[in-house]
Amino acid sequence: MDTRPDTQDDPVLLARFTERIAAGDQIEAGEWIPEEYRFEARRLIQMHANSEIMGALPEREWIPRAPTLARKMALTAKVQDEVGHGMLLYRVAETLGGTREEMIAELVAGRARFHNVFHYPAETWADVAIIQVFVDGAAMQTQGALRSCSYAPYSRVLKRICYEEDFHIQLGLDVWRSLAEGTPRQRAMLQDALRRWWTPIMHFFGMPDRVSPHTAKMLAWRIKVKSNEELRQQFLRRFIPIILEYGLEVPDPHLRWVEAEERYVYTEPDWEELKRVGRNGGPKSAERLGLRQQFYRQHAWIREAVSRWAAAA
């Protein structure tokens, strides 16, 4: 699945396609696309779908332990939304080839990728606040930008996803506030969660983009809309003030705003860790993939029974 295609695209169709993209058009499902475009778009969307499904795992651990009935319902609803986003995204990926069944089989076999942040543990209730504010907040930057991507089915689904993610961040801020303005123990729990999540969050947008023909093509085709660093800076501009407003500490002592450059400078994250995690080598990767695999196998007889019933009906 990771090898780029080597087919020859019809030159007339390719020229038309390039022209339309350059004119700012979006492409619908079923229209002619270059094989490389298909490959790259599908890979991006599939990774996004995988991330929603895997992203449910850290937060769902706190549903049974949510400390009020209102929080319990809200957290269940939030994780439900993420699972629902997975559904929407797998369908979009399908329009580019393959079936959802194949993609999920690939994921549970450990052969597919999902975002780095979901390879880390959610150790306390405060982690829920950090995930909902900062992880979802980070995802919002990318998803918001990709709303103007060139593949129309993805763009449409992202509109709905962004609409729902907005609620998630509001929810997260409510939990954040209750902890930041709470007892000393609650504040300490929140600060500690922020500290533990800081590196994965800084990793989220990826290494600063290399200048390469590949990157240039992805931008020209609007499969990539903003650079990694642009998105990271956007995220920092929006979310650092929240930390400071509540009198909490930014876990990076060297992070500061440089007026002259109009950007934040920060301690360079360890990119080797990101690479390891990207190969499913993060602290929780094996456990979570194992869990998914366990349920996938457990449900095999159900899939069989259900499809037989449908075939007989």
């Binding site: 019809d10 079923g30 079936t99 959802r100 509109k159 259900v306 019933w309 449908a310 009906a313």
Partner: protein, 129 residues
């Protein structure tokens, strides 16, 4: 909608071949169902997305929670996505009018635009509101 299995051996289509086709059956997996939602009585049913389900009854059951948690709904339709027939993108030109059709509107061009505008708005809710 499209994409039933990734074919690795595929001769590249030519532009001429592509342009010749004006209609097609949607190429979706057989277990994908298109969901149409009617927000309030008298509204038209609008395509809001798809579900995977083994059969029609289950498609309706799951569509309720997958598509109406936040949106008002009084009625749902489901149909297998691969039963849907569609015009192709290359046939889009046939929807462009070349001559004045204002006789259909009994009035001015402006009125013609207004009618198009309101019919479009009826079937496209802006989720950003």
């Amino acid at each position: 909608m499209g994409g039933r299995g990734m074919t690795t051996e595929r001769r590249a289509e030519t532009a001429a071949e592509r342009d010749a086709i004006w209609e097609r059956r949607l190429d979706a997996p057989h277990d994908v169902w298109a969901v149409f939602l009617q927000a309030r009585t008298r509204d038209p049913h609008v395509h809001v997305g798809d579900v995977h389900a083994p059969d029609a009854e289950m498609a309706l059951v799951v569509a309720k929670e997958n598509y109406t948690r936040r949106d008002p709904c009084v009625n749902l339709w489901v149909v297998r996505a691969d039963e849907i027939h569609a015009t192709t993108a290359s046939a889009v030109h046939m929807f462009d009018s070349a001559t004045d059709k204002s006789y259909r509107f009994g009035g001015s061009y402006r009125k013609q635009q207004q009618v198009y505008g309101s019919a479009w708005r009826l079937s496209h809710r802006d989720e950003d509101q």
